[in-house]
Amino acid sequence: MKIHRVWGMTLRYIYAFRHNIDKMADAFYWPTIDILLWGLTSTYLTASNPEGGPTAFFVVLSGILLWLIVWRGQGEITMNALEEFWERNLINLFASPLMFREWMASLLALGFVKAMMSFAFAVTLAWFLYAVNLFHLGFLLIPFGLLLIMTGWWFGFLVMGLILRFGRKVQALAWTSIFVISPFSAAYYPLSTLPEWAQAIGKCIPITYVFEGSREVIATGHIDPWKLIISFVLNIVYLTAAGWFLHRSFEKLRERGLEKIN
């Protein structure tokens, strides 16, 4: 792995970010809308049901803020990859010494930085508008953030692998599919709220343990460390499998020709 090539690809996406208003919208506009919409909804619900108290308000907003990391982590991988297909740039990239893993490394690094950027922006906005301070979660924010972005990564790999296999006809998965796991991962409510069959699915999703854990910390100030361990192990298993699937999909595409993605 050559760092200058990873940097070259990172630079390519930074330039694209600078020129592209859609990407700015993904990074700042949608988080702002989410925080405003759900913050106001939570304010209303808290006012109409004071028994729920400030904890319920904090739980919903922390769910929204933490979900941002998953969403941005996945989005950076799939949207940047899609851009290469749309611009027919894959041949330019892979007729150079660039390795597939270097391309992926640039997408992961950029995904991490931009997810953190959007997260920091949204956390500041939530604090400014509603005096909700997510830093109450303390140092646990670090493992939470890492586990959430890992889920964004493997999900991004999976979706990108599917697009490489089946072409642009499934490209909508890039911006829609991540929301499929959202109801099962209990981002805004306890897992026990779901019916049993849905709880079983939720338990297979690594971020469910993060959201459950964050609520545990908000309520009790402590977390069962097994939640973090299970989440990490599941993430590693899925990341390995999705990485393998993505690489196989890329090699399959190379057999058809890199310009044949359509």
């Binding site: 070259g8 690809m9 592209n20 851009e83 150079s96």
Partner: protein
């Protein structure tokens, strides 16, 4: 010394064979033309040589190394330009060259970019996004990108398509100069036969994925026996037309001119026949066959007998 050797290269897409058992080599500082009609397998071959398409069978060796095993190392010294691929549209010329320069192991990137900009006359376009450029300007940017890593082997797919004649001439001279100064070896596809005759040392002709010929442009042209004999008829145009029709020669007329396809060895007899029939002419020009004639003859033959 062979810089590139291709052995029994084959690419199948399902039951369709796009490239069929192709073998050739490229010497140091040689310019090799890859010719053939549309769909012959030229672009498929180039894509396999770039590693963006996996061959079904066969081996590619660059600098004595197996390409599949040493892809990363080999591609440091190879580059390409194609009219049919694009760099990212939204990025400026400078941004594109800058990010591409980081994909190669180049010592002085800013210096190299500055040099390339000047060589390809891109100074005024540097801060323009590619989407604002004309087709000719895009071709120059693609060529600039192809030279950014001091390539030892260059693969050029229609390098001068969409350039005006002056810019195309500049690029041809530039390629010849790079070859003589830096021993760059080039594989070039083009539909401009005059350009191929001017710059290529050797030509490989492929059709339906198979190699039909491998020779110098002059030798290939010479293999076509038919010359174009153009006459400015003074008297007897109708008789002249009747005469060439009887002989079975292809011909066309333009005013008082008649252009007749005649085999080189038959020209004296043909001219004697005109004299015998009292057909007189003021001017005569005999055009020897060119690479374009070879191209037309071969493609007509293979269209008639595809296998």
């Amino acid at each position: 010394m062979s810089i590139l050797s291709v052995s029994r290269l084959t690419k199948q897409f399902g039951t369709f064979t796009a490239v069929d058992d192709l073998s050739f080599s490229l010497k140091e500082s040689e310019i090799l033309g890859l010719l053939g009609p549309n769909g012959a397998g030229k672009t498929t071959t180039i894509q396999m040589l770039l590693g963006v398409l996996t061959p079904t069978l066969g081996a590619i060796r660059y600098f004595g190394k197996d390409f599949a095993q040493h892809r990363e190392e080999v591609l440091e010294d190879v580059n390409f330009s194609s009219t049919y691929t694009h760099l990212p549209w939204g990025l400026t010329v400078r941004e594109n060259l800058r990010f591409i320069s980081f994909l190669y192991d180049i010592d002085d990137r800013p210096g190299r970019i500055a040099k390339i900009i000047s060589l390809f006359r891109l100074e005024e376009l540097m801060n323009h996004p590619l989407i604002e450029l004309s087709a000719g300007q895009l071709t120059r940017v693609n060529l600039a990108k192809a030279f950014i890593n001091f390539p030892r082997v260059l693969l050029l797919d229609e390098p001068t398509a969409s350039l005006d004649p002056e810019a195309a001439k500049y690029i041809r001279e530039f390629l010849l100069n790079e070859r003589s100064q830096f021993n760059v070896s080039i594989i070039l596809t083009s539909h401009n036969m005059a350009e191929v005759e001017e710059v290529c040392d050797r030509v490989i002709f492929i059709d339906h994925g198979k190699m039909i010929a491998d020779d110098t442009p002059a030798q290939l042209a010479r293999s076509v026996e038919t010359c174009h004999v153009e006459l400015l008829i003074k008297e007897g145009m109708e008789r002249a037309v009747r005469y060439v029709t009887e002989r079975g020669n292809a011909y066309k007329t333009e005013g008082k001119h008649i252009i007749v396809d005649v085999k080189e060895r038959d020209i004296p007899g043909f001219l004697r026949g005109l004299m015998d029939r009292g057909i007189t002419y003021d001017e005569i020009s005999i055009e020897k066959p060119t690479l374009e004639d070879y191209f037309l003859v071969v493609t007509r033959t293979t269209e008639a007998n595809p296998h």
